[in-house]
Symmetry: C2
């Protein structure tokens, strides 16, 4: 069994140039899983593209980026160049609109440019070039055949000039070295000589708030200021001005739908509820409606729309929870039992993780035979809330639903609504969390909550900011959630809350707090638990938002600093600085004209001193030069000199510095 | 424009599971460019395979490797398991025959295993499992439908046993927990529930000598012992016993074909030759024949076959040069001018790199319109010499010919002759050298010759042994070639030759010398040149192979040590050791039961002392334990203790130690 030499060239299928291929294009960047998944950017970003482009021998190559919004037919073009290594080519394009984009690169041999370069080398050593001039004329004639009208005539004229042995060498060479001629014929001579990289890669371009936002999570039913009275959307509206003043961008609400009665959970997750218990909002659906209905005690759909509008007027955005789980009372369980798991006795299977049972909810069967209808119904839920003005969804436990389902539904929703943001609330193993981010989630919860020591923070942030993850994983650094009150907060008192706030707000451009954090609430259900005592998940909690010891001043100040300093708007512009104290973490955030250095005492209990080592050359400073830094948290200014500077942080007074270099180079 | 939910799942094309996909398979290893290029192994190797395999939720998965020689239809299977991380699966298979192999992995949900695990959890806490038993029975009934005859009956029987409410719980559970039942139904229940990774990956399995061999390069015409008399194959045959005794495995001959007359190069690459000048053997072809002819002064085809047979009897193998370049006198230039570049005046273009001209050779036009015939003719050259018993080819300057041509021709030749070895003689930029190795060359020349300082050697060897390159790039560490006499050898005298020999022979399992090296020949054509004075490329050189100062004792000893120590048969089992002297390089080579440590003084001019730091725990030694090492070069034994040991190396006496740990753990 033998194969003939190919008419074109040996075939190739993935990650390489399409056929016929007379040169190689490999290692395209950016690229995830050989183009299987899109990389992510924020609108307006310059997308830096590079690739290995090479062939045998010494000929000159030319190459360009092809790119387009996915819904356009015509490719846009941007040039590729090499720098010192002729095999690695670089270029860039601006992603100036939301949505999915495509890009690839193509390359070809620059025959005329090669000929001209070689001609020049020959002339420099005085070789006879009469044959070369004829060959140049042939190249131009070939090029002219692809061109039309006046342009073709002009190139043909140059060919004749090159070939005219009656004329002087200088006259003939003028045609060879005309920049206009070179420019006109530098495009590929023959379509089939162009090598295009396949597969075409994808890019998802999100709006600014996908990459920079401060989130605040609250339970609407807890927003009444009257004890044990069920809060309403009107109560939430009353809180919005304060949240806007604190500098938040997104207000995220747990599910706002009717709550089931069957097996409703009682206070502190009791398996049997007491009369009057309000139940978990994640047990979605009752005879009053399902995922597109509103819990009547919160208000009406019109009230909700009013909330969304009022928030918008204040520069705030309402994010909803999207939880694909169902109370046994949810209308779909009656209307579409085929969308659920039916047991041999005809009952619908409730959620469980054997031997644990979650009888207040039932999961959908997303691979059921009626899955087309089910998936479309799930999509319609998104469409419904988008219709009400919602553009951000926090998706509950996506790792318990099929990954292909999410890939499909996110692509579908974003096709018509490229401004929609999906936050993945998957707390699971790393590979699955990364997979959800890769397949399309705009943002992802992270392990930040559990990274409290210096080495942990450095390792985790280094992974997030310096590996391939930075192409697709946008973490949302929540300091706490209704499910996670970390021991560090339980034991560290107010300083611990201030420390974690400073870290979250400066390490990640997207961060959030769950309400109560600003009051330093830190009572676990029991020792060793990360659950809150008297958790809002199961009951109404009213609070005095101005209670003594609150850290709202910190929050407002940090959110203002974040808005004013572009270095805090990006994620991977992070580098760690060395200190000689393992409780003192220091890092640098840099953007053009904005140099920040953050120093944090990670120990909420004790004062720590440290020598901070600055990379002077990277800061543009010489060894003996004085320079000014301003602590944006306190307003104090310091004059420093040299690479090593002393800091002292007493957490009872201040937990860290956020220095800005006064005159950044 | 909207898409319906897929009947199966969202499509995917590369680097991921084929459809329909209910679970994810990603990041298959080993993998080069998403499967575009094959990885390489030596026959008999265990191929370690791993992949990320995961889906939503908590179900148990099962997975296996599929693998087969590329010419077999039926997949072989090997199991995959996970260790601590349930999302990363590992397995292995043995590549027990030469040639191209294919492999991929597939995975599915283990429904019955999941059900059994959950049943067990429920039983442990005393839950009622009556519905679960009926569900288990349904799973077994489904499985039985896929099975036949007695097996199907047995599974149906178990299903009935599980479902039989008249029987005791214990009796029914016996069917649930039967290992035989589990084993029988653990294969995927439904074909469409199996997810298979695509694209199928390839593996090239080479014979042992592709991965472990000592090469010796000689010019046959220089092998006569009579001054200026043209050597013959008979002269080469007379040298074979000595080369066998020195421990070489491969004897590589520059081209043995008729040499052209037109523009023949004179001594020392003079552009005009003198009468009697023999010319460069790389100017292939004359009226006496081309690539399948033998230069008459060397002998006949039968003489050559005799040489190949005699070498074989001595355990030696003859490697030929494959140089796709043509003297203007080559028969193909007359028979097939269409295979060359024709100039406007009808002449054939000679080789050049403007303004340099190489008028004694013409390159083929491998993209000419008659390329099918040309490529086949090029392949026939290989086939001709394979017919004569040759199985190893050193390919001259492959980076000047189209890469797709090499990919095609290597695959074609190896399809019928999987034992053929191709060595790429590309000294060019890194990306192109790597590309040639990726597309199929068995071995590659390397930058080793130019890496003489400690940091250079560490950096280069670290790249070769610890990056993706170790999957496809097998360097052949030549100490010198007819084109490369490095300044280090020119200036370092005999110690320099001994140092480079020790490095080449112990750093790489495949290494070589070009004859004259053993005599420490070190005269460049002129200062600053890497060319030899009076190079054999252009004239006959007779030598006294026993001249004083020769290092044949070193060569014989090192080649024996190499054969006796398995640690020197692998490449990426290298780790560097720390010394406190930047002229003293130390490294470790390890294989089961064989622990070697090499210490080399890189300075040929001066004695150096160093403290060598040993990684005791990796050696299986405690801090205060005495251990014996034997210097395999000198036979001396030393008793050492602790992590730091002193070495003194005077290059006029010895250039290095090659220690073997006496009792490796």
């Amino acid at each position: 069994m033998s194969e003939s030499p190919p008419d074109s060239t040996p075939h190739s299928e993935v990650g390489v140039a399409r056929q016929p291929s007379r040169l190689n294009i490999e290692d395209l960047s950016p690229s995830l899983s050989a183009g299987r998944y899109p990389v992510k950017r924020i609108v307006g970003a310059l997308v830096e593209v590079s690739a290995n482009i090479f062939k045998e021998g010494h000929e000159q190559l030319a190459a360009r980026i092809l790119y387009r919004p996915a819904n356009e037919r015509r490719w846009r073009q941007a040039p590729l160049f090499y720098e010192y290594n002729p095999d690695r080519w670089f270029g860039r394009f601006r992603a100036d609109q939301l949505g999915r984009w495509q890009y690839t690169v193509e390359a070809w041999t620059d025959h005329f440019g090669t000929w001209r370069r070689d001609l020049n080398s020959r002339l420099e050593v005085g070789q006879n070039v009469s044959l070369e001039l004829l060959e140049g004329a042939l190249l131009l004639e070939q090029a002219a055949r692809r061109l039309k009208g006046e342009t073709a005539e002009r190139i043909l004229g140059a060919a004749r000039q090159l070939a005219d042995t009656q004329k002087s060498l200088d006259f003939r060479l003028a045609a060879a070295f005309s920049e206009d001629i070179l420019h006109t014929v530098s495009a590929p001579l023959l379509e089939e000589e162009v090598t295009r990289y396949t597969p075409v890669h994808e890019l998802v371009v999100d709006r600014e708030r996908a990459g920079f936002a401060a989130w605040y999570e609250l339970f609407p039913r807890s927003q009444s200021q009257r004890r044990s009275v069920h809060g309403t959307f009107a109560d939430v509206i009353r809180r919005l001005p304060e949240l806007a003043a604190l500098g938040f961008d997104v207000v995220y609400l747990p599910p706002i739908h009717p709550i089931g009665h069957s097996h409703r959970k009682g206070k502190n997750n009791a398996t049997v509820c007491e009369p009057g218990d309000v139940g978990s909002p994640w047990a979605i659906g009752s005879e009053l409606g399902g995922h597109t209905a509103i819990h009547p005690e919160l208000g009406t759909l019109e009230d909700f729309r009013h909330l969304v509008r009022t928030a918008g007027d204040l520069g705030l955005e309402i994010a909803l929870d999207y939880a694909l789980q169902f109370s046994p009372d949810h209308p779909w369980t009656k209307e579409h039992p085929e969308w659920f798991f039916i047991r041999p006795d005809g009952s619908i299977r409730h959620a469980e993780n054997p031997p644990k049972k979650y009888e207040d909810i039932v999961p959908p069967n997303l691979w059921c035979s009626e899955r087309k209808a089910l998936w479309n119904a799930c999509k319609d839920v998104f469409e419904f809330w988008i219709e009400q003005g919602v553009r951000t969804f926090r998706v509950d436990n996506p790792h318990t639903k099929p990954f292909p389902f999410w890939e499909w539904i996110i692509r579908e929703v974003q096709r018509d609504h490229p401004d929609v943001i999906f936050l993945s609330e998957a707390f699971t193993r790393p590979i699955r969390m990364r997979a959800l981010a890769k397949l399309g989630f705009t943002q992802s919860y992270s392990y930040f909550t559990w990274k409290n020591h210096k080495r942990e923070l450095r390792e985790y942030l280094t992974e997030l900011t310096t590996t391939e993850m930075s192409e697709y994983y946008r973490p949302n650094f929540f300091t706490n959630t209704p499910d996670i009150l970390h021991e560090y907060l339980q034991r560290g008192g107010r300083p611990a809350f201030r420390i974690r706030l400073l870290l979250a707000a400066t390490l990640s451009p997207v961060y959030g707090i769950y309400s109560g954090f600003e009051l330093c609430e830190n009572q676990p259900r029991h020792p060793g638990s990360e659950e809150y005592l008297d958790s809002e998940k199961y009951e109404i909690r009213t609070r005095n938002w101005d209670a003594p010891g609150n850290i709202k001043h910190d929050i407002a100040r940090l959110n203002r600093i974040r808005r004013e300093n572009p270095a805090l708007h990006s994620f991977s512009n992070l580098t760690f600085l060395e200190t000689n104290n393992h409780e003192v973490l220091a890092y640098r955030k840099v953007s053009p004209g904005n140099q920040l250095m953050v120093v944090v005492n990670l120990d909420p209990h004790r004062r720590h001193d440290a020598h901070l080592h600055l990379p002077l050359s990277e800061l543009g400073l010489s060894e003996d030069e004085a320079f000014d830094v301003e602590d944006l948290l306190s307003g104090e200014r310091y004059r420093w000199r040299g690479a090593t500077n002393f800091v002292r942080l007493d957490p009872s007074e201040r937990v860290g510095h956020l220095f800005r270099l006064a005159h950044p180079r």
